[in-house]
Symmetry: C2
Subunit: 458 residues, 2 copies
C-alpha cells in the first residue's frame, strides 16, 4: 500500500507544479478508486484535464467512483457523444446513477445515442427511486433451471460473457420466479457434480422487492451474511441483484446519514465543499435552536422579574450547567434508541423496557450529579448573607439537576420512538430537536423547583 | 419475510406463555440469525432453555450470532465438554471469538478437549488483538499455484472439503507468499480454461497485515469493492482471509462506535441492557460537562458582581441561547471532520482548507443568527427604561452570537484534527468535550463583548 501512497504523492506534486505530461504514466499504475480519490481532491479547475488523461478503458470505472459534485463538473464539460461512449461501458446500475444526475433532456439525448440493449436496461433502472432496492440493483444476474446438474450449471455459467462478479446462481421457474439459489463454490464440489439444482439449491432464499428501502437491503445482507441479494418485482419475478459494493456503499451512506442528522446537518457536506452549501444544510437545524431561544429568553426574563436581585443572580449562574447536563443526557438516550432502531434491535415490543431503562439510568446519573453539584453549591457558591442560604441553594440546584436529567433521559428516548412511529426518520429530527426542547424543559424544571423552594421557605 | 415475522411472533407468544414444547418445531423453520434474535430478546431466565432446544447441528451457528452478553450467560451454564463440542463445529474465527470471552483457565480446558487440528488453528487466532485483521480473519482459504490452468484450479477447488463461502483463489509462490488472486467466476469462463493462473490472475492484489486495524480493513474493502481481503504475516506469507460477513460487522460496529462516542456513551450499550451499565458508560462524559459547569457558575457569578441589577438580569436571559447556538455549531463542525477522518476524505493536506471552510460557514451562519437575534433583542426584549438600552442590547447580543458561532465552528473542527494527530480516536473525545468547552468559550465571548459595549457606552 505504501507504493500507492508514494505514487499519489508524486501525482499531487505534478498537479501542483502543472507538470501535466508526467501524470498519465503514474495513473497507469493505479486502481480506478485511487485515481478517483486524486481527482476528487484536486483543484476544480483541473478535473477535466486529469480525466481526459485517462485511457478510454478506465474512464468508466473512474467516473463511477468520483464524488457526485466532481462527476457533475466533468460531465458538464463533455459532449453527449463522449458521455454515451463512457456510460455504455459501465455496469447498468452505475450508468443509471450517472444519467440520473443529468437533466431530463440531456439524459434522453444520451440514451438515444447508446445501443438499444444497454439503453433499455438503463431506462428500466432509472424508473426506480435512487434509495430503493430497484435503484441500486443491477439487472445482470445468472439464472439457472432446477433440472440442471451442478456440472451443467457450471458449464453454462462459463459460457456466459460475464463482466461483473458473480457469486450466486439463481434458480428460477418457467415464469422467471426465484425458487432457490446456490453459490458458485458449492457448484464446484466433486460430490455435487451430477446432482440437480432441485436437490442442491437452498430454497429458503432471502430477497427484497424493487421498492424496498436501501437501509432494509443493508440490514438483511448484514443479518444473513449475504454477498448479494436478489430483487423481485411484484409478480415475484427475479429482476436483478444487489452486489456487495453497493451494499457496502449503502452501509457507509446510512451511517453517515445518521451521524450527520444527529448533529443537525447533512452527509452531502462530505462532498460539496462550499461553505455556503454547508451553511444551507446546517442552518435549518440551528434555526430550531434559535426559535427555542426566543422562548428561553422570555422565560428567564419573566422568572427573574419575580425574584429578588440576589436570588436571580445566584440562581442564574447555575442555568448553563443545568441546561448542558439535561441536553447531554437527552442526546445519550436518543442516540441509543436511534441506533437501536437503525440496527433493528429496538422494536415496538421492548419500548416499555427501553423507557424504564432510560428513566432508571437518568435517575442514577441525575442523583450522582445532583449530589455533586448540590455539595458544590453548599460549600463553594452559597453565601450565608444572601436571602437564599446555602442549604436551600444546594437543595434547589441538586434536585433541579436530578429532575432535569431524569426527565431528559426519558424525553430523549421517547422522541425518536414517536418519530419512528410517525414514519419520520428518527435520526433527522432528534438531535437538535431533543437538545432544544430539553433547554426549555430544564428551565421550566429548574425555576419550578426554585419557586417551590421559595414558597416552602416562606 | 412476513412468514418469518409470523413464526417469530408465535415463538414469542410461546415464550411468554411458557409453552416450551411448541417451540422446537418453529425453530426448525428459522434461519440461525433469526433464532439468535429471538433468544437475544427473550427474558434472561429462558436463555439456556431456548438454546438447549436447538438441534446440535444448528447450535454453533446460533451461538456465533448471539449478543456477547447473552452468549456469556449461556456459556456459563454449559459444561466444558458441551462448549468444546459446539466450538469445534464453528468456523475458526467464530470459535476464537467465543473462547476469547472466557477466563484463561476455562479456555485452556476447552482447547484441550478439542481435536488438535482445530485447537491449533484457534490458538493461532487467539494471539491477535480482537480488533485487528488477525483477530477477525479465518485461517481457511484456497491457495493455488501459478502454473495451474484455470480448469485444474477449478477441479482442485472442487476436491476440497470446503464449508465456508469461497470467492477468490489466492495464487501463492513456493514460500506461501501471495502473488495474485482470481475470482471463481473468472476461473469458470470457457475461454480461460486452458490458460495458466500466471496469465489469468490479477497480480495487483490488495492485502493487509495481521495487525492492521479492523477499521482499515473495512475502508479497503469498501474502497476497492472487495468481497474478501487476504491477510499476510510479516514475511508476506498468506495466513488468512477476512470474509464479507466480518467486514459488514466491522462497518456496523465502527459506525455505532462513532455515533455513540459523539454522544458520550459506548456502543456496548446496544448489548448490555442494565441501567447501571448504561450509567457507568455515560457518566464519565457527563462528568466532563459537570466539571466545566463548576467554572461556568463561577464565571457567571463573578461577571454579574460587576454588573448592575438590570444589566445582569437582561443579559443573563440570553445566556442559554448563546450557549446552545455555540454548542450546536461546534458539533456540526466536529461531526463533519470526524466522519471525514473515518472515511478517509479528510487528510493532513486539506486541513487548512477545512478550517477555512468551517470559519466561513460559522461566520455566515453566525451573521444570520446574530442579526435575527439582535432584531429580537431590539424590538421585543429591550426596554428603553433600562440602563442598557435596546440598541446596545441588540448590538451586544448579535455580535456575541456571531463571534461565539464563528469561533465554535473553528474550535469544533480543530479539536478532532488535533486528537487525531495525537493518535486519539477523534470520535471518543470530541462530542462532550467540544460542547463543554464551547459553553465556557461562549460565556467568555458573551461577557467579553458585554464589558466592551459597556465601556464603549460610558
Amino acid at each position: 500500500m505504501s507504493d500507492v501512497n508514494r505514487i499519489k504523492e508524486r501525482i499531487n506534486f505534478c498537479i501542483k507544479g502543472e507538470l501535466w505530461e508526467q501524470i498519465p504514466k503514474f495513473f497507469e499504475e493505479l486502481h480506478p478508486a485511487d485515481i478517483a480519490e486524486i481527482i476528487n481532491h484536486a483543484p476544480a479547475s483541473s478535473y477535466k484535464q486529469l480525466f481526459e488523461m485517462l485511457g478510454d478503458e478506465i474512464k468508466p470505472d473512474v467516473l463511477a467512483e468520483l464524488d457526485d459534485k466532481v462527476e457533475a463538473d466533468i460531465l458538464d464539460e463533455l459532449t453527449d457523444e463522449e458521455i454515451s461512449d463512457i456510460v455504455e461501458e459501465m455496469a447498468p446500475d452505475d450508468a443509471a446513477d450517472v444519467l440520473g444526475e443529468l437533466e431530463d433532456e440531456q439524459r434522453e439525448d444520451i440514451l438515444g445515442l447508446m445501443e438499444e440493449e444497454e439503453s433499455d436496461e438503463v431506462r428500466e433502472l432509472l424508473q426506480y427511486d435512487e434509495e430503493t432496492a430497484g435503484g441500486i440493483m443491477t439487472p445482470d444476474f445468472v439464472a439457472v433451471q432446477a433440472d440442471m446438474t451442478a456440472a451443467e450449471a457450471t458449464d453454462f455459467i462459463g459460457s456466459l460473457d460475464l463482466d461483473e462478479p458473480v457469486y450466486y446462481a439463481y434458480v428460477v421457474d418457467s415464469k422467471g420466479r426465484l425458487t432457490g439459489w446456490i453459490q458458485l463454490w458449492e457448484l464446484l464440489k466433486h460430490g455435487n457434480r451430477n446432482q440437480t439444482l432441485a436437490d442442491l439449491a437452498e430454497s429458503e432464499t432471502i430477497s427484497v422487492h424493487t421498492d424496498a428501502d436501501q437501509e432494509e437491503v443493508a440490514r438483511l445482507a448484514s443479518k444473513y451474511d449475504l454477498s448479494a441479494l436478489p430483487v423481485l418485482d411484484w409478480q415475484h419475478k427475479l429482476v436483478g441483484r444487489i452486489t456487495m459494493d453497493d451494499i457496502m456503499d449503502v452501509m457507509e451512506d446510512e451511517a453517515s446519514e445518521d451521524i450527520f442528522k444527529l448533529a443537525g446537518s447533512s452527509e452531502s457536506e462530505l462532498e460539496y465543499t462550499s461553505a455556503l452549501h454547508a451553511s444551507k444544510s446546517r442552518l435549518p437545524w440551528l434555526l430550531i435552536t434559535l426559535t427555542t431561544g426566543f422562548f428561553s429568553v422570555l422565560l428567564l426574563n419573566s422568572y427573574h422579574a419575580y425574584l429578588s436581585f440576589s436570588h436571580a443572580i445566584i440562581l442564574g449562574a447555575f442555568v448553563p450547567v443545568i441546561l448542558a447536563m439535561g441536553g447531554n443526557t437527552g442526546i445519550q438516550s436518543s442516540t441509543l434508541v436511534i441506533r437501536g432502531i437503525a440496527l433493528g434491535t429496538a422494536h415496538t415490543k421492548n419500548i416499555p423496557k427501553i423507557l424504564l431503562h432510560e428513566i432508571t439510568a437518568g435517575a442514577i446519573m441525575g442523583a450522582i450529579c445532583g449530589i455533586v453539584f448540590g455539595l458544590y453549591a453548599l460549600f463553594v457558591i452559597g453565601r450565608e448573607e444572601t436571602a437564599f442560604g446555602p442549604p436551600y441553594l444546594a437543595l434547589t440546584v441538586g434536585s433541579a439537576l436530578f429532575s432535569a436529567m431524569a426527565f431528559a433521559a426519558v424525553f430523549g428516548a421517547v422522541v425518536p420512538v414517536i418519530l419512528n412511529r410517525m414514519r419520520i426518520d428518527p435520526a433527522v429530527a432528534s438531535g437538535p430537536f431533543v437538545t432544544s426542547s430539553n433547554d426549555i424543559l430544564a428551565l421550566l424544571i429548574y425555576y419550578g423547583v426554585t419557586f417551590l423552594m421559595i414558597s416552602l421557605r416562606s
